[in-house]
Every structure is written in structure tokens, then in C-alpha cells.
């Protein structure tokens, strides 16, 4: 049995009924909610495809991190994963790298790091592509304009 879920696990959203069960449990326990229940709900939220729910999930995970020191190490991973899903790669990397510092052999964390790197690379590349594309177009236009000016002169 795995101690931690792989990132791929976070990509499969629960259906609303299942999430409803987790939420009901969470709300039933009110202020005295237990760590496990809170996590269950948070994890269900993180798995969701809706950005709002993901936000809430990460918030709950941060609460768990703050309130239960004995769960901090695990929480690091979930925080990283949640932020990764949100696209907050900076935060995700911050948590994940800290976890890898403590547990260099953690497969799930290593996997997540690769995923983060890839995402950053891909999106970054796209960004650069856009920027450079704009630059090239500007260059062309500029060049043409210069040329035209030169010719006219």
C-alpha cells in the first residue's frame, strides 16, 4: 500500500455526490473537526477540476499543516500537489523541495518535481515563444520600416 498518492491520483476528480459525503462529514464535526476528516475533504477538493474547490482544498491543507505538527511532513506533499494543480508552481516547488530535502528517496515527491519542472518548462517555452514571436514580428516590421525609410532617403 502506498503512503502517498501519485500526482496522477489528484487528476481524477470525485463526482459531486462523493465530494458531498466528504463535505457533510466535515461540516458535521463542526469546530472540533478531526484531522482525518479535514484531510479527506481537502483531498476531495484538491482532486476537483474546479479552481474554487482546489483553492479551498489547499487552504484546508495549510490549516492541517499549521495545527497538527505530526502531520506536517505529509502535508508538505499535499500542499505541493495542491499548488501544482492550481498552477502555483513557485509554491509547489517550495514545499516539494523541502520534502525532498527531508526524504530524498520519496518517489512521489520526485515524480512531482519532474512534473513541476516540465510544466514550468512547457509554459515558459510557450511564453518565450510568444514573446520572441512578438519580437521577431516587431523586428520584421521594424526592418521593413527602416528599409523603406532608407529607400526613400
Amino acid at each position: 500500500m502506498t503512503q502517498l498518492p501519485y500526482a496522477i491520483d489528484a487528476e481524477t476528480p470525485l463526482n459531486p455526490d462523493e465530494l458531498g459525503v466528504l463535505r457533510a462529514q466535515y461540516e458535521k464535526e463542526g469546530d472540533m473537526v478531526g484531522v482525518q476528516t479535514k484531510f479527506n475533504y481537502a483531498w476531495g477538493l484538491v482532486k476537483s477540476n474546479l479552481r474554487n474547490e482546489q483553492h479551498l482544498g489547499v487552504m484546508l491543507l495549510a490549516e492541517i499543516f499549521r495545527t497538527s505538527p505530526e502531520r506536517r511532513r505529509e502535508s508538505l506533499y499535499y500542499l505541493a500537489l495542491g499548488n501544482y494543480k492550481l498552477g502555483n508552481y513557485g509554491e509547489a516547488r517550495r514545499y516539494n523541495d523541502l520534502l525532498l530535502d527531508k526524504e530524498p528517496a520519496n518517489l512521489q515527491a520526485a515524480n512531482l518535481r519532474t512534473l513541476i519542472d516540465d510544466k514550468v518548462a512547457k509554459e515558459g517555452l510557450m511564453g518565450v515563444a510568444i514573446v520572441s514571436g512578438v519580437a521577431v514580428v516587431a523586428g520584421i516590421v521594424g526592418g521593413v520600416l527602416l528599409r523603406n525609410l532608407g529607400r526613400k532617403r
Binding site: Q3, H55, F65, E70, L115, G143
Partner: protein, 659 residues
Amino acid sequence: MDDTEHDNDFPDLSSFDDESSVISTRGLEAFGRKVTTTASQLMAPRSDPSSNPTYQNAMTEVHRQLRRPGLQRAMFSMANTTPTDLVRSRLSTKEIQSRALSYVPEELLKNIPEGDSSYSLFQGFQASFPELTDNGKKHRRRVSRGRKMLDEGPIIPDGTPESVRKLKQEKASMMHQFEMLGIRKNMASSEIREIDAKIENLAGMRRIILDRLANLEQDEALLEHDIVDVESRLEEAQEMVEEAESVAVRTPAKSEDDAASEKGDAPGFMSQSVYEKLPSSKGSSSDKKKPRSIRRKSMPILHEHFEPGSMIRSMRAHKDNVTALDFDAPFGLLVSAAMDDSVRVWDLNAGRCIGMLEGHTASVRTLQVEDNFLATGSMDATIRLWDLSKAHYDPQGHQFGKEEDDEDAIAFENPDDQPVDPPPGSMSACPLFTLEAHLDEITALHFRSNVLVSGSADKTLRQWDLEKGRCVQTLDVMWAAAQASALSSSDGGWRQTTRAADGSADFVGALQVFESALACGTADGMVRLWDLRSGQVSRSLVGHTGPVTCLQFDDVHLVTGSLDRSIRIWDLRTGSIYDAYAYDNPVTSMMFDTRRIVSAAGEDVVKVYDKVEGRHWDCGAGITEAEQDKTPAVVERVRIRDGYMVEGRRDGVVGVWTC
């Protein structure tokens, strides 16, 4: 024209780029290479592809996807995050808000203890919601199939590879289930630990708030005292003003009076009527002052929040067996009487003796406190009435030279302290009048508003009018018993108790009056209900086999305690037994409030019966002091009001408890 121009442009453009552009592709390439080398240096320790197959796979994939992976990866790993992320985190309020909420500060990140949990949160999640995880779904299917197979009967190993496969599958699913059960077990136990911790926290909070409540109550008491002080001063001032006015009004009329007084035998400075109004010189202020109520106006509620059975205080009240005690309200005034012939008044709030009531020539057997009034019945056959509000007592009291911190109302006083003698004469204004008519010692009395009923060893009950201060009716118990036996011949007559009534039992053990209804318990074990208007016994309750020592009724029930060791609860409307229970020793004293029936049954603890929970428990020194190998004296008398219990023991110690 344009077209030709463009056609011409392109070759030129490349040369333009190569030679004169600031950002040339070559320059970019060179920059990229530099970055690659530095970044791969930086990244070297973590990317050990040989140890991480996943990483390797990902890398090859990336390699495949991107033409120049080294350059790109390296370039963008320099940036921690993507442009979209950066834009989002700077510009969208909602994003910023949620980030702030989920941000974990650095110091917390530094403080990450080793996790010692036996299961991870994710495992907990899987175990509690197996249907929500893919893994669980798979297993569940398998499990249900396995169950079905079990239902159909065990698979007979017939040697085919199919059966081996099935059995293996079954075993795997069972192992999975087993593992799950283990995790759920761990979850449950850790949840219990969590709850224990929370309870601990809450208990701590409760203690703090209890302290706060104690302080508030103390402040309240102080303020109340000050208010009373100011009120009496105000009244005094007002009286002075009125006097001055009345004197002023009378002055013009003086000339007429003068004529009379001149020939009168006692020429006074002032007219007689005014003179009489003047406060007498001796004890001027105290006599004129409105009797200051030393009773609390505010309702103390602190004791209600103590653990039931915890001691509020203990006082060494007397040197001998406590024979009677009563108090008016929680943290109010307590009056105790003992075999040492003294009657003491106590301030339960401070735990101090206010004064001694002197007048009886023998020890007091029974007493009752109601509001400011106290009635005592003594072995000298007299009943005395006292007004406790006339006591000279300063609740802040520094007059005893005893300035220990009284701020703490629940301070535990050392029970071994010798009783501190109150100032003499502090109670001198208290006696109201004496009722003398009984021929033998008073063993029981009870009063309500203006009616007092007393029972005596002379085998009579007397009804007194407290306004006129005289006896209005005498009830002869023996005569009533004879009447009853003559009329019905069944019960109601004087019965010989089966239990050998030792001579010490009081003839009238207890009584209580309510308007015209009177209940009295006698040494024959009978409880008689009288109608004071007719002076007849209206009903007799038969049941006790020993002398009745205590009784109390409310609107529904009558509770009696007897030397036959039992407590009986009667239904007042039907006259039948409603409930009964017994202790190991004779019951000497009993009282109930809305929730509990407390009794003294010859033990060093008070026996408590919780009517609401139907639970019996013990409360008192016998429990708390058992650990210290002490054996406190037997509890003789017990009183309770609103969960505030006072008990008096044979060695003269009075204990105050919450119940």
C-alpha cells in the same frame, strides 16, 4: 511594387539579423549554452536519473517532445515558476487572497517533526472511503466477488491453474482488507487520543473560566457590601435631614409648649415627642440604622460549576457532636449547634464565625434558618427566635485581627484550626422572643411564614403564632393515635416498633408545616399528616419499622428517613410508597433539593441519591481523606440547598461541599 520589395527583403533580412541586430539568434544560442552549463551544475545533485526510473522516463519523453531540451529546461528552471503563475499571483485579488490564506510561514516550515503516525492521511482516506479511490473500487469488486465465492462454498483446489489463480486473488483481496482494517483500527485509536487531548484542553479552559467566575463573584460580593454601606449612610443622612426639618417646623409652636412645660415637673430642652425621635446616645448609630442585611442580594452560582463532590471548605465549628445546623442560602449564613451547648453563626462565604447566640440553658437540638430569621429548639424546653440581620458583622471583617486572604472565597481553611472566637456581643441585638410552654426538650421544629410548629419529648406538638408570639394549638400525638386506633383499628394507632426502639430516639423525630398541613414523624415509625385547622390526623403513612428521624415534603413527594436504615419516598396524593432504598446504618438526617436526596447514615460520608440520574454516590471527607489514611468522624447532620451541601460531624467539624 510592394511584392517585389518584399521578395527582395528576405535575403536582406537574414543578413541584417546576422550582422546588425542587437538580439541575434547566435547571441541567444550562446547565452543559452552558458545558462545550460550553470543550471546543470546547480541541478546535478537532485537529478540522478539512474536511481529514478520515473524521472528518466519523463526526461526521455521531454527529450522526445522538445528539440533542444537541455537549453529550454535549463532556461526555465532558472525561473521558479511560469509567467502565467507570476501574472496571476500579482494581479488577481482572489488569487492573492487565497494564497494569503493558504500560505505557510517559514518558521513553520522549519519546524517539521518526524511523523510518528502509524498510517498516512492518504491511507486513512482510502480506508474510510474505499469506494472513492480507484484502488478501492478495484479491490471492492474483487472482495465482493470473493464473498460470493465464499458464499457458494470454498473453492475446492482441483489442481487446475485456474483455481490457484482464483485462490491467490482471493488471498490478495483478503490481505488488502486485513491491511485496511489495521489502518482503520489505528485511525480510531488515534482519533480517541485526539479527542482526549481536546477534552484536556477544554478542561483547562474550564478551570480558567471557573477562576474567573470566582473572581467575579468575589468582586460582586465586595461591591454589594459597599452598596449596602452607602445605602445605610444615605438613609442616615436622609433621616438627619428629616429630623432637622421637623425640628424647624416645631420651633414656632414651642411658645405654646413652653407654657405647659414651665409648670410641668420636667422642664426639657425639647418637647417630649421630638426627644423620643432623637437617637439615643448609647449605640446611637446601630439602633437607628436600618438593620443591615448581611444576606447576599446576588445569587452565587460558583458552586454549581464545581465538580460534584468537591469540598468548598471545612470548618472546625465545635468541640463536640454537631446536633443541628441549617443555612439560608449557598454562601450565606450558617447556624450550627452542638453538644457543647453553643450556637454559632457562620459566614459561609468567608468561612468565619460571626458570633455566638446565647440564651439557651441547654444544648440546641433543632434549628431552622429562613431568610433572616432563626428558630432554635433546645433541651431546656424553650424555643427562641432570632433576627440574624441585627448581627454586627462586617463581611470584610478586619475586627477579628484575622486578615488572611479572604479574597479567595473558596479558600480551604485548615479544619484543625481552633475556632476563632468572634467579638463578644456581636449578636446581642439578635434575640426576638422566647416561646415557653413545652414541658420537655424540643426535638423538632419547623416554621413557615407566621406559623411555627414544634415537637417535644413531652409527646405533644404545639403550633405557635409568630406574630403574637404565643401558642395557639396543642396537638397530643398519643391522643390522636388512640383516636385513630379506636376508629379504624387497622392502622394509625401507636405501634410498638419491631425494632427495639432504643431510648435515645426522639419521640418526635421530624416535622414540617405548610400552611394548614403538617407532617410529623415519630418514634413509632409512623408519619402522620395533620390538618391544623381541625387539629386531626388526616392520614397516617405506615412503613418504617424504626423511629422516623427526618422528613421533608414538596408538592408531590414526602421523603422520610428512619433509624430502620431506610429512606422512603411517598406519594403525597395517594399516600403510597413511591420509592424506597436503604443504607447500612440508621439514617440520622436527610434533606433533598430539586435534584438530590442527601442523607447522613452513620458513615463518614454523606450518601447522595441523584434523582435525575437515579444514581447513588458518596460525597464527603470519607472519600477525600481516605487517601491520607485519616478517618473523619461520622456525619451526623446534613443540609442541602441548590446543590450546596453542609454536613456536621460528630467531632464538631462542619464541611461544605458541592453536590
